[in-house]
Symmetry: C2
Subunit: 660 residues, 2 copies
């Protein structure tokens, strides 16, 4: 019938087209010409009507569209398993970001993406939507591997590994889009990271760029409950209406996560044809929650499935992800009939393609779409027996029992990337050698850092080292009023007065050389009211102490940092072997006494109840000066009416430890 000789016929397969009507050919064939699907149908019909240069017998395997990993950060494969079972902030700021700052270069991104491409091809993925830095390298790696990809360059309000400012990132993105637009495999895209990590200006300029070039806009929406809480309090509305208000939804949006959106937000997303990218493993692992995908699908939103980055998953296995999407929807709604296997598999293929705005070219086996397809061995032991009663049973077999390792062949754009489990476009051994090199360097970096509490402190945002030394002396007192009255004496000039309540948590570590890390909340009190609270972290190095006859202590230097995170964050990040809590009320004076500046504290240690202490301190810069100041401090204590007979050389923390 047909005059032309087409390139290839794949025959004797169970063909799942995943088209709108879910056409299925128990003994089917697919004809491929150039990059396109030429025809699909029963094996009889296709082989009788068409002439092909090559015909391949698929030996009864399942032939279906390749899977679509709709949200990933491929290059992060190089950081797989770097730190597990941590809270998002600890994981991100304590591990991921420090490693990214140190290692993420174009070379790193190309290598990490290539590694991820091998894993993806092996597990039946033909298209992925990536979001990371140096996306030019992601695009190159994907194209070299022969994979189809949306490559979305990340834009943030903070400096990133590839841009010092958001303007720089936008410029990079513009150039990247110009260079890659129209590529047969790669779709460049812009990725303002998330509303809460961007400014309004970034979101608006990124949208303008997406619209100018008609490229997708890839972002994270409502991943955590706190993101929504913050949006409500900052903008007076949840994340989706806020994104809408900034015109973000006018672009072809890929919205990752959407764990915490309500029904009215779903209707907005549906109206704007936003594709939702569901990441069930990542959302569970980071305890973000469970996205309400049953409701989303019911409303008619295209919901795709993604693995998220392999450092929060920890792999790129779309079989696991599709299965989990199907299972989780049932468990969380109480309805075992929701998101049946057929729908779940469509989310990984045809619906997924629509969600990432590529429904016209991939995601199903239909004439004129690109030939992006895979073969799956449906008869391994873990999928035996196979019942034929229900023609839809095959979807259940694949979703609930097939494994990624059952994929034998992968084709993208009419080109084989894997045949009989042999990779054709990538050299696995060569890549693994390079990966090994990075692994060792990252490991060494983290091991070195983990050795020292100080470098861990520095890694999460610059502790300021205080190189100054200090003399301090302390006596227990019973009557603080006598001291307060004595301070009125004309020989003492009061420069400042403060009253605060201090809540101190000390982290101690197995190795005492690490020092002591103190998390302190200073509640400043004026007229009995707390007017401000300051949070500070101080790493108190092991004291190279010097005891003077007078009992004055010369203590070591400290590292001071503003404590931006919670006590819980630091506890999980530093993982102390022991913790001590001390709470005290402090009256503080900065005074001049005999020409020297001193801090005078009257401390009532309330928890544990140790009594009241007079403490006199002064900064110093050398041994001689320290000696003089120590003598003067003792003099001052006596002047204030306390006895230096009772001088205490221990810190409060040491006092507590010796009494507990």
């Amino acid at each position: 019938m047909s005059q032309i000789v087409i390139d290839l016929i794949l025959t004797n397969a169970i063909v799942l087209t995943m088209d709108e009507e879910f056409h299925l050919y128990e003994n089917g064939a697919v004809a491929i010409h150039g990059p396109n699907i030429f025809a699909v149908g029963s094996a009889d019909k296709i082989t009788k009507n068409l002439q092909a240069k090559e015909t391949i017998d698929c030996e009864g395997k399942v032939l279906m569209p390749g899977l679509i990993n709709a949200h990933t950060h491929h290059a992060m494969t190089l950081m797989r398993g770097i730190a597990d079972d941590l809270r998002l902030d600890v994981w991100l700021m304590g591990y991921l970001m420090p490693v990214e700052r140190e290692f993420v270069t174009p070379e790193f991104v190309y290598l990490g993406t290539s590694l991820a491409c091998i894993e993806s091809i092996r597990s039946g993925v033909t298209t992925f939507a990536d979001m990371y830095y140096f996306e030019e390298e992601v695009a190159k790696a994907a194209a070299d591997a022969g994979m189809r990809a949306i490559c979305s360059e990340t834009i943030l309000k903070f400096p990133t590994p590839d841009a010092q400012s958001y303007e720089e990132a936008l410029n990079y993105t513009r150039g990247f889009i110009e260079r890659w637009k129209g590529h047969p495999l790669i779709i460049p895209a812009v990725a303002p990271h998330a509303p809460y990590t961007c400014t309004d200006a970034i979101l608006q300029e990124a949208t303008a760029l997406a619209l100018e070039f008609d490229v997708p806009l890839h972002t994270h929406i409502a991943e955590t409950a706190s993101e929504v809480e913050n949006s409500n309090s900052e903008h007076g509305m949840p994340v989706v209406p806020y994104a809408k208000k900034l015109n973000l939804l006018n672009a072809k949006v890929l919205a990752a996560h959407c764990v915490h959106i309500d029904e009215s937000e779903m209707h907005i997303l549906q109206e704007y044809n936003v594709g939702i990218l569901h990441n069930p493993t990542s959302n569970l692992k980071l305890a973000s929650g469970i996205a309400p995908i049953s409701k989303m699908l019911e409303i008619g939103i295209n919901v795709a499935i993604g693995t998220d980055g392999p450092s929060s998953n920890n792999d790129l296995d779309m079989f696991e992800e599709i299965r989990l999407a199907a299972l989780l929807a049932k468990g969380s709604t109480g309805d075992p009939t929701t998101v049946p296997a057929k729908t779940a598999l469509a989310m990984g293929t045809s619906i997924g393609a629509k969600a990432i705005h590529m429904g016209d070219i991939t995601g199903s086996i239909e004439t004129n779409k690109r030939a992006d397809l895979i073969l799956i061995d449906i008869n391994p032991l873990h999928n035996t027996p196979r019942f034929l009663r229900d023609p839809d049973g095959i979807y259940g077999d694949i979703v609930y029992a097939s494994k990624s390792t059952d994929v034998t062949d992968v084709m993208v754009n009419g080109v084989w990337l894997m045949r009989d489990r042999n990779l054709l476009t990538l050299n696995e051994a060569e890549l693994l050698a390079q990966v090994d090199d990075y692994t060792q360097r990252i490991d060494a970096f983290l091991i070195e850092r983990e050795k020292s509490i100080l470098s861990k402190l520095v890694a999460i945002g610059g502790a300021m080292q205080q190189e100054s030394f200090e003399v301090q002396t302390k006596v227990k007192i019973t009557d603080s009023q006598t001291i307060i009255d004595a301070l009125e004496h004309q020989d003492i000039e009061i420069l400042a007065t403060r009253h605060y309540h201090e809540y101190d948590t000390y982290f101690q570590f197995e190795d005492p050389v690490q020092g002591l890390l103190r998390y302190r909340e200073d509640a400043f009190i004026e007229k009995g009211q707390v007017i401000n609270v300051r949070y500070r972290l101080t790493l108190i190095g092991q004291a190279s102490e010097r005891h003077f006859p007078s009992g004055v202590l010369l203590s070591r230097s400290r590292y001071l940092a503003e404590a931006k995170h919670s006590l819980r964050f630091y506890r999980e990040y530093f993982n102390p072997s022991r913790e001590t809590y001390i709470e005290k009320d402090r009256l503080r004076w900065r005074v001049l006494f005999q020409g020297t500046e001193f801090y005078i504290n009257i401390d009532r240690v309330e928890q544990p109840d140790l009594g009241t202490f007079l403490e006199v301190k002064s900064r110093t810069w050398g041994r001689g000066d320290a000696d003089n100041k120590a003598k003067l401090a003792n003099k001052l204590i006596e002047f204030l009416g306390a006895s230096t007979e009772l001088v205490i050389t221990q810190d409060y923390i040491e006092l507590v430890r010796s009494t507990s």
Copy 2:
């Protein structure tokens, strides 16, 4: 040093002992003698101190205890994927139980268990706790495969494939226990299926049996919310206190599921050292819920992990199950640090062994425990790179990224069951041929049954066929009072009077030959009050109708069944192509008219609003009788004051269809 020559040393492995202190040897070795572990430690130490007949280089693989699948119905592997995405009742009563009634024999159980053993060995399982019928066959299959197993014979208040009564089941169990107790691999056990499927007597006698022989008692506890509701309403308490009251907890209990238990119940389980068997995939797939395992572990309960039967999972992959347990705990509690990888892996090994009361012999690599262990290739692509910074990182690598297909070697009781992915105790090809035979027979059975709505109806519990025929005639009326008055006439003898409100749902099917299935709720009304509601299902065969000149219809026979399930159940089970709803108020008289018994109905069809009808019906048994009765029916209608000019030959359902 040592004088004896031991059997085997496995060296050059990353040894995860999973002992109480999680000892881990990055370059470790395990010495094995007979069925036991002789020593474990660093490779240096073991190889230097011991002499062995054979030493195997593990080439840097992970060597760890074999996984424990703590709750499964192995033989059900033969029914894998038989029906997915259905509600528990539809799946169980509509598919599983009919197939079990037809096919479950000793041969079926041996074969299904053997198939499951192959899958289990391939995926690194060394011990499983089974619950099914013909457990003697499960024990034989497990022992032949070389696996360790708790084989629990099911006891139910209903007849089962292997026992007509519970007494018979208990007798079988007693004999089974006597024959197998003391076997090196098999622990026989008694399995009263669940409190709600047993009687008090069964639970008490099963417990007595377990205590008499000191064998485990394996049961299902609080799998669904409705089970707990029913327990509360029937027994005035939830399931756990009820089980405690019956002394069930005095046995060594393995309690599967425990999805819906509260904290006080957890404390009871902890007190009685009950092991909980967590089945995350099954609980999600059947939408039972998410068991609160974080809380259970915190309270100190031993929580094991199981796959449940492969027809609700649909495989026996413990890697997936362990991963899901870790992920789900985080997602459901909002705490990403809960059930870390290390704990999850312990649930699949050491904690799991304790939960199934086998902690003294398996679950960890410790001297004098049995040599039940596996080797895992930790360096496949999907687990690259591997970082060494955190010594505990290996647990995350295994739990979050390893696949069951990474298992290369399996040993149970000191005997290799798999070496380099080659099975040593089972003949896969031979078994698969037998499986194929069963598959085809089960498929044919279900395909045949699915062809006919009638056989589907029969399959779920005996529809009663009404072979009688019926004449019926119907006229539209405007004034029912006239008819009611006319019924007072002495020529009519009223035998009975009824008033009901009828809610009918008609299921129609693609193939009209299937007939029409009606689900009817009859609300009986007395003095304006509903006093009783009856639920009936009627399969109305395609009418071989006969129209008389008088418009009387001779309708086909019907199949009647009490509707024990909900409309929702039948909808999902029969999956109709169309549904029609009709609601009517019916006044019914059973009368004698000229010596013949008739039913007279005055029907006000309210939904849809069709008006009021007078219907006259009579049972018949042949053509001649039908002709006579048809004539008499017309006469009766006229006698009651209605006109037979307006006779309607259609059923209400046809009237509705023709007007909609």
